[in-house]
Symmetry: C2
DNA sequence: TAGTAAACTTACTCGCGAGTAGATTACTGA
DNA sequence: TCAGTAATCTACTCGCGAGTAAGTTTACTA
């Protein structure tokens, strides 16, 4: 039932989605939707929260805290693109639809903030263990925010290019962000510090 | 009148914006809006097209074609953040509201594609003049897409932190993308190849 | 197998807002 | 001053969809 709602919301957006269509797609009648999930807003909110939970869960499950920061980041980035590839609807509801709806933008912002904070924390640790100058928490958060934005943009690219593998997007992100375009132009590329098991059939 | 519509659409989104409010904010009556701009959809579309035109105009005016690619990119990035800071409403309509509205997402995608193509072209030239291996047009477009996404994300950050200067965002973007996080962590930072005139009062 | 509670549906109400018909005001020229 | 017309507004219609009242079926109990 949340699946049906997520599908309809992702296609049509909050306002253009009708409760009739959601009910029909879920194979039940409208009053049942109201009985179980309350109003349309609560239903949308439930979709967002479920998707956000799944996403943050997937990311934090991947980034084992005992790994060095760079490897954690790599694992998190991989998990992120995997999630987007497997839950396209959920992704679209959160970041295409809910963001612009003032009433719900806050929930998405909260989910996003969780991710940004984690990334900022990884940066801080990477910088610390490299012995470099700490740029300060605000600057770190700004960079983390930007990295997450890059990921979101590549996620859209992934949705528009269904035959591209999540691993490709993840590698591209690490290349851009860790190596920098300047290095890429000089022909240097980023490589995973640990061997990546290729998925079967590739 | 387009200003009023842009303001209302940016606050409320397409569906939640009412033509009554737009008319009131523009200081005219509703039938006048319909007389001059047609339907609600056409009005929204007009807002998008105007904003898109202003944005692409600002960017291409900044990036003088005789400059080296890196400097063009720097100029374009600066112009972009300047635009976002000065036309917050227009930016929000395009990238927060219109993106999720299936009917209008195509127009925004078209504007975005223009920008991505320009950036991809700059990459290609930078790579060529550095004598590096050409990664192929698809890969270049993917990277350009990602860079634009990073810019969009930093634009949001800029809107949420009104006391931050567009130049700061522009520098941060170049740092991340040209230098790479790996270099940043080692304490290296990107510097503009030409001196940047500071705005007065800084 | 009648009685009853739970699960579910049909068929409505009601408000909101896009879009418009017809009245009204402001100009123009004689 | 006033006929004619252009510009603009007031006050409506009408459809759509969120939300619900009342009825109906299903499932269970004794």
């Amino acid at each position: 039932m949340l699946d049906a709602a997520t599908a309809v919301f992702s296609e049509r957006g909050f306002h253009a989605a009708s409760m009739d269509e959601i009910a029909e797609r879920a194979g039940i009648s409208k009053p049942m939707v109201y009985l179980y999930l309350g109003s349309k807003g609560e239903l949308f909110s439930a979709c967002i929260r479920r998707a956000g939970g799944q996403l943050t869960e997937a990311i934090s499950a991947a980034a084992a805290p005992e790994l060095p920061a760079e490897q954690q980041l790599w694992a998190a980035v991989q998990a992120f693109f995997e999630f987007v590839g497997e839950h396209r609807d959920a992704w679209a509801v959160m970041f295409r639809q809910a963001r612009g709806e003032g009433e719900f933008a806050g929930e998405v912002a909260g989910i996003r903030r969780l991710v940004v904070d984690n990334v900022a924390d990884l940066f801080a640790r990477a910088i610390h263990s490299a012995g470099a100058l700490d740029p300060g928490p605000d600057e770190l958060r700004a960079l983390a925010h930007a990295l997450v934005g890059t990921g979101e943009s590549m996620a859209e690219w992934l949705l528009d290019h269904p035959d591209e593998r999540p691993e490709t997007a993840a590698t591209r992100l690490m290349n851009m962000l860790w190596m920098g375009l300047g290095s890429l132009i000089r022909g240097e590329v980023w490589r995973s510090p640990v061997p990546v098991p290729l998925p079967p059939g590739q």
